[in-house]
């Protein structure tokens, strides 16, 4: 039986081949070109120096903002304009069309673009992760009270989701309408971690609850108006809902999957091929920015920069988890230390682990968002580019892991990754349902 049926238009054939994972000649050509990198020691000046990068107002746009405001872009000979965008779809479309050179993207976005799920036929890649973690699941005060009545320890993923399962079963028996949870984009880590968490307790995310998409800056008002019962979103929007007494967090996403992937720097494959030196300069600037952000003594300054009108205009106390690693799950409980809530550089946080992409693709398949016939390894290796990362890290004499993939979920404790120079101290990467979870609030 031949791989692709006859009587399809060339575009349909492409779409089909792309979706089924047997790359057509055209795509092989495109991808093979992206593996070619110009490495000329005498001529590595950026081909393009004036860049437009898009971002969404979230704490984890910090590496981009700091690179601009602390002069890391400038030091690499780049003049960068940061453009605040109102939706992930806008960033994707503008990057695809070349109005933006690249942007703050949700980790699954370049994967979705490369599989042509958006219909734009513009493969994208990432050579740098903008950090790990940074999200939480927050529910309305009313729902929080109901969950607490079932289990006083609601604040970690295990106790919270078990209580939620009990509540949903009760509500179904009473004939009540399903609860509504929001996340931020169909192809987002939020969507897949929320689904993972719900499904762990036997809650079917497509049947037992209603999942909707709401842009991050509108989450808090949607929760306040009762339009939704809970959400999974990045900071500072959880902290803002909690501080305003509108909601309470039931878990952070780093408690669901420790040191999980989140945002990446996304560019089109064509752009990376056309401007290899610019891309490397961009990666170097962002690596320096992530290193700068890593130091706790810089966080107060970073907060002041980030909350400026043109970036993330929120009250500075909404950034407390970013500034001090303290997360307050609800106003009636003390803030707790969650030092790994946002990780910017340590634990090889900037490294584009191919295994991160493979996990995300496996979840896209699990929920029927892409066919199971897609070869996850093949797609992941085209979209996530550790080779380009290593080139940038090497130029700065920073260590890079020697492996492209780690065994996700297998590290219950801190571990060491072998690098080309000193070994890298890594954080755990286990999932909450595979280890013993300690309640966040033991006094409850």
């Amino acid at each position: 039986m031949s791989g692709s049926p006859k009587n399809l238009t060339p575009f349909a054939n492409n779409l089909l081949n792309n979706t089924l994972g047997t790359a057509s000649a055209k795509h092989l050509y495109v991808y093979s070109q992206t593996f070619y990198t110009v490495m000329s020691p005498t001529n590595n000046l950026p081909e393009k120096v004036s860049l437009n990068l898009g971002f969404i107002p979230l704490t984890d746009c910090a590496p981009l903002v700091i690179a601009k405001e602390k002069g890391f872009f400038h030091a690499e000979g780049l003049s960068v304009n940061l453009s605040r965008e109102s939706s992930w779809a806008n960033i994707r479309d503008k990057v695809a069309a070349g109005v933006l050179d690249g942007g703050h993207m949700l980790a699954p976005m370049p994967i979705a673009a490369s599989l042509n799920l958006d219909g734009l036929n513009t493969p994208m890649l990432t050579a740098l992760s903008l950090g790990l973690g940074g999200n939480a699941i927050t529910v309305s005060r009313a729902l929080h009270q109901q969950l607490l009545a079932l289990d006083a320890q609601v604040a970690d993923p295990y106790h919270s989701v078990q209580a939620l399962k009990t509540l949903i079963s009760q509500q179904q028996r009473a004939g009540l309408p399903p609860l509504t949870f929001a996340h931020v984009f169909p192809f987002s880590c939020h969507n897949y971690l929320l689904r993972y968490w719900l499904a762990s307790a036997g809650i079917d995310p497509d049947k037992d609850v209603r999942l909707v998409v709401i842009p991050p800056p509108l989450m808090v008002s949607a929760l306040a108006s009762g339009q939704i019962d809970g959400f999974c979103v990045g900071e500072p929007w959880n902290s803002q809902a909690i501080a305003q007494g509108i909601g309470a967090a039931v878990t952070s996403t780093v408690d669901i999957w420790h040191n999980s992937p989140e945002k990446v720097l996304g560019v089109t494959c064509a752009w990376a091929e056309q401007y290899p030196n610019t891309h490397q300069a961009l990666l170097r600037a962002l690596l320096k920015s992530a290193q700068w952000l890593e130091l706790s003594e810089h966080r107060a300054e970073a907060c002041a920069i980030l909350t400026a009108e043109e970036y993330v205009p929120v009250a500075i106390q909404d950034l407390r988890v970013f500034e001090r690693g303290e997360f307050q799950y609800s106003t009636d409980r003390p803030a707790l230390q969650v030092p790994d809530f946002n990780v910017f550089y340590r634990y090889a946080a900037t490294f584009p682990w191919v295994s991160h992409a493979e996990w995300l693709i496996s979840q896209m398949q699990r929920w029927g968002h892409i066919p199971s016939s897609i070869n996850a390894q093949e797609v992941a290796a085209k979209v996530y580019r550790p080779d380009l990362y290593r080139q940038a890290a090497q130029a700065l004499q920073l260590p890079s892991p020697l492996i492209d993939r780690k065994n996700e979920g297998s590290h219950n404790n801190a571990w060491l990754a072998t690098s080309d120079s000193v070994d890298i101290a890594m954080g755990r990467d286990c999932f909450f349902d595979q280890v013993n979870v300690e309640p966040r609030y033991t006094d409850a």
Partner: protein
């Protein structure tokens, strides 16, 4: 073109008034004009528009993306108002497909052609998706038939052609489609095997 029900989402009253007028002059029906997108998914579900025209800078774009992913059968074309400084981008985007972009400052006569192009492109994309879905299900059917043939070959000691003929004969005598017969065989085997 049949009469279309159109949902307009725009907080620029001047612009949306011009577009509304152009659409109505062309015989279409603007079923609602929303100033913001706070309850967008609810409104789309309640109003069931044939087409949505929304400000590109409305954050609700991501909500529409989600609705497109979930309700493939109920997907609808989306047209975005775009700022003049993104003109180059719009032209690219229109060429790229799915969504169409409508420039600010268009005069009334320029609006309907954009709507028509957007609908044509959208139908083209939907047809491709359907073609793709059909092909995928055909491939899946083929796999089940192969599996059923394999089971018959192993049990009855037949060659591939013999197994296929037996499957076909049984399907015909029971007035079933070949794929349904194969499915029964495979599920029985899963249960008993």
């Amino acid at each position: 073109m049949p009469k279309l029900n159109i949902l307009l989402v725009d907080n620029d009253p001047g612009r949306s008034a011009i577009v509304k007028q152009a659409l109505e002059d062309a015989g279409h029906n603007v079923i609602a004009k929303l100033n913001d997108d706070a309850n967008l998914s609810k409104n789309v579900l309640a109003l069931q528009p044939d087409i949505i025209i929304i400000d590109m800078d409305a954050p609700g774009r991501d909500t529409l993306e989600q609705m497109r992913e979930i309700n493939r059968d109920q997907a609808r074309p989306i047209i975005l108002f775009s700022a003049p400084n993104d003109q180059r981008f719009m032209q690219e985007a229109i060429r790229a497909g799915v969504s169409a972009y409508m420039l600010d400052g268009l005069n009334q006569t320029q609006i309907m052609p954009i709507v028509e192009v957007a609908i044509a492109r959208f139908r083209e994309f939907q047809a491709l998706r359907k073609e793709l879905d059909d092909t995928k299900s055909k491939l899946a059917d083929r796999k089940i038939i192969e599996k059923a043939k394999g089971l018959i070959m192993a049990r009855k000691g037949l060659d591939e052609d013999g197994a296929y003929q037996l499957l076909r004969k049984n399907a015909m005598s029971q007035n079933k489609r070949l794929i349904d017969m194969a499915r029964i065989l495979v599920s029985v085997e899963d249960l008993l095997g």
